[in-house]
């Protein structure tokens, strides 16, 4: 079967800085891919190119057979690929319920009643059944990020993109968010996760992608990546993570 995400020769530069320097990556349907690497290695740029929050300059990105470079296809890609952000990016002027129900109404054409039902179920599933009428600024960071996940799930996407979902959280809240993501990993939805949480990567990933300086340096199952890293840059990176 064709991969659900197919990136071929993807390049992106900011001036002379090569953010992505020839990325080839296939993600199979239902796969959980975790992207790791030092800051500035291009991990976030890579994941944000999949739904074109960043545009690439050359190469092709196909999602579910649709061409991300084509305007007409892009809207459909975005409805099929949900995204969870480092800074949550919840809509502060809407209740938690409305945050989750909005896109199903506006994009999928559900009625508010249907969308609210769906949103309520999802919020209960991420453990926020008691918070649905609150506003984002009344929630803790961990709760906000779980709303962010419910909001992405409400579109019933085939793919979920996580852009450093726990990096802005206080340490004691990281676990509750990772737990929710880990539950998702068992539901068959395709996950692409950029993270610095190595223990989490080892637990949930089918494949780990290590990036450095805009390139994919090493790809493999977590065991191989973490226990028997081949590339010296990956070895250095893992050493620096363990030392900190």
């Amino acid at each position: 079967m064709a991969p659900i995400i197919n990136m071929l020769g993807v390049r992106k530069t900011y001036g002379t800085f090569k953010a992505l320097d020839g990325i080839d990556l296939n993600v199979e349907e239902g796969e959980v891919v975790v992207v790791i690497g030092p800051s500035g290695s291009g991990k976030s740029t890579l994941i944000r190119c999949i739904n074109q929050l960043e545009t690439h300059q050359s190469g092709t990105i196909r999602v579910h057979g649709l061409d991300a470079g084509r305007r007409g296809d892009l809207v459909r890609i975005r409805t099929e690929a949900g995204m969870v952000f480092q800074n949550f990016n919840l809509f502060p002027h809407m209740s938690v319920l409305r945050n989750v129900a909005l896109a199903p109404v506006r994009v999928r054409g559900l009625s508010w009643t249907e969308a609210n039902d769906r949103a309520r179920k999802l919020l209960i599933r991420v453990g926020l059944g008691a918070q649905i009428d609150k506003f984002p600024n009344q929630l803790s960071g961990g709760q906000q990020q779980r709303v962010g996940i419910a909001r992405a799930l409400a579109m019933e996407p085939k793919i979920l993109l996580f852009d450093e979902p726990t990096s802005a959280l206080d340490p004691e809240m990281v676990g509750e968010v990772l737990d929710v993501i880990q539950q998702l990993a068992r539901t068959g939805v395709t996950l692409v996760i950029v993270t610095h949480e190595m223990g989490f990567a080892r637990r949930v990933a089918d494949r780990v992608v290590f990036m450095d300086a805009g390139r994919i340096v090493e790809v493999g199952p977590p065991k191989a990546i973490f226990d028997a890293p081949q590339d010296p840059r990956l070895q250095t990176f893992l050493k620096s993570i363990l030392a900190s």
Partner: protein, 223 residues
Amino acid sequence: MSVFETFLNGKVFIDTLPLLLRGLRITIGLGAAAILLGAAGGLLLALLRLYAPAPVRFLTISYINVFRAIPLLVLLIVIYYALPFVGLRLTSFTSATVALSLVSAAYCAEILRAGIEGVPRGQSEAARALGLSPIRQMTDVILPQAIKLVIPPLTSNAINVMKDTSLASVVAMPDLLKQATQAQALAANPTPLISAALIYIVLLLPLVSLVGVAEIRLARRTR
């Protein structure tokens, strides 16, 4: 004659009050029309200024700059006294509405642009990532937050528009000020002018203090 009899003459006040109130109605009508039209035009200009293709964007910027540079009184006189020479004859009310709206739209555009740019980038990213259409991104996500940010300057602008309606008296518009000057001539007493000044103050003071309160609340929230 005492100072009171001269400047706050009770009899003159009562005699001329109906005239002033008729003028006040026109002042409010003119102000409201210009505020609404200016806000609508300003929103359109702000969106063009931010998102239109380069040539349109350039034209929009030119419009905004020109109409912020031109004195309102000059524009008003041009519209009322010069346009008839090219066959465009507008009533004094229409002339004043057009002049005030054109200028207010330019100011509103800059205010709204600042508001839209003040909404964090992540908001439009989240809206786009969810697949919302550009119009929905604006109406559901960006504008409600942007407008909240700029309520104080928008209100200040509305106050200015309301005050500037008094300029319309030079194009024979029977607004509050015009009625007051006429009443003054009629009564040979300045009381109507003082009354008009007080009416302007009573009309606008609540809005002025509202801006102050809104600014304090906004500052507290964004801190």
